[in-house]
């Protein structure tokens, strides 16, 4: 194993902003900023639908503000249709069944010392590592 592309400072700063956004959503709305729940509830529940849509709109506006302030955003996504389709389905289905994703379990759940979230996070990281080991990058 060798370490490449490691950007600890931007990762930590960006992560802190994510934590601060989750804190605002908690203190003002009383809710947990788990993106899979917020996104799936827009198509499943009437309750807080507009709040959820506005939060998701904010997620889309964020990168636009960042690039308008003159910063480059690097993003490389696979072109493979089978990977995009199976990836999307598994991410949607899995986070719905498992009640959370990287934000809901990985950030908010661990912050709340939830055993469910700690176990879910360890599980999806290990499965992700195995998947990359098998299918490559």
């Amino acid at each position: 194993m060798n370490i490449i592309n490691f950007t600890p400072i931007s990762a930590f700063v960006g992560g802190s902003l994510i934590g601060f956004a989750a804190f605002l959503f908690f203190v003002f709305n009383g809710r947990i900023a788990g993106v899979s729940s917020i996104a799936s509830n827009t198509i499943i529940k009437n309750e807080n639908r507009l709040d959820n849509i506005l939060f998701l709109s904010g997620l889309i506006i964020g990168p636009i503000i960042y690039s308008l302030s003159g910063n480059e955003i690097e993003s490389v996504l696979t072109n493979s249709l089978p990977l995009l389709i199976s990836g999307g389905l598994l991410v949607g289905f899995g986070t719905k069944i498992g009640n959370g994703c990287t934000s809901g379990h990985g950030v908010c759940g661990i912050s709340r010392f939830s055993l469910r979230s700690i176990i879910a996070t360890i599980t999806f990281i290990i499965t992700g590592v195995i998947t990359v080991l098998i299918f490559g990058i």
Partner: protein, 138 residues
Amino acid sequence: MTKLSSLIAGIIFGIGLTISGMVNPQKVLGFLNIFDSWDPSLMFVMIGAILIFSPLHFIFKRKSRPIFAKNFVVPTKKNIDKNLIIGAVMFGAGWGLAGLCPGPAISSLSFLNTNVYLFVIFMFLGFYLGNFIKLGNN
């Protein structure tokens, strides 16, 4: 007022995902590529987020109610059940295939890339099917 705070929280969250590099699937896959060439950055994203959210949330949880909403709504489930584990396994597999999880996938819609739209459409189909299956279990 919860609408305003939802939008602002979403924007800050989206800027955080962008600065941290998590909107780049290649970087996320680099984190999962532990046994070859490893990029540990995602770990620092989680540490940064937890160090901010955890203490602040514990301090404000003692308030009787949130500033704009009537009450705090936090997950109450405690048991480690099949849904949690199977769901996390499936999510991890999908995450490892495309390098996108729900937050960065939604943020990436701003890049006007057809492949992102495809991923997000199937992610929402997955939400819908998952909800259907889980209801069946109850």
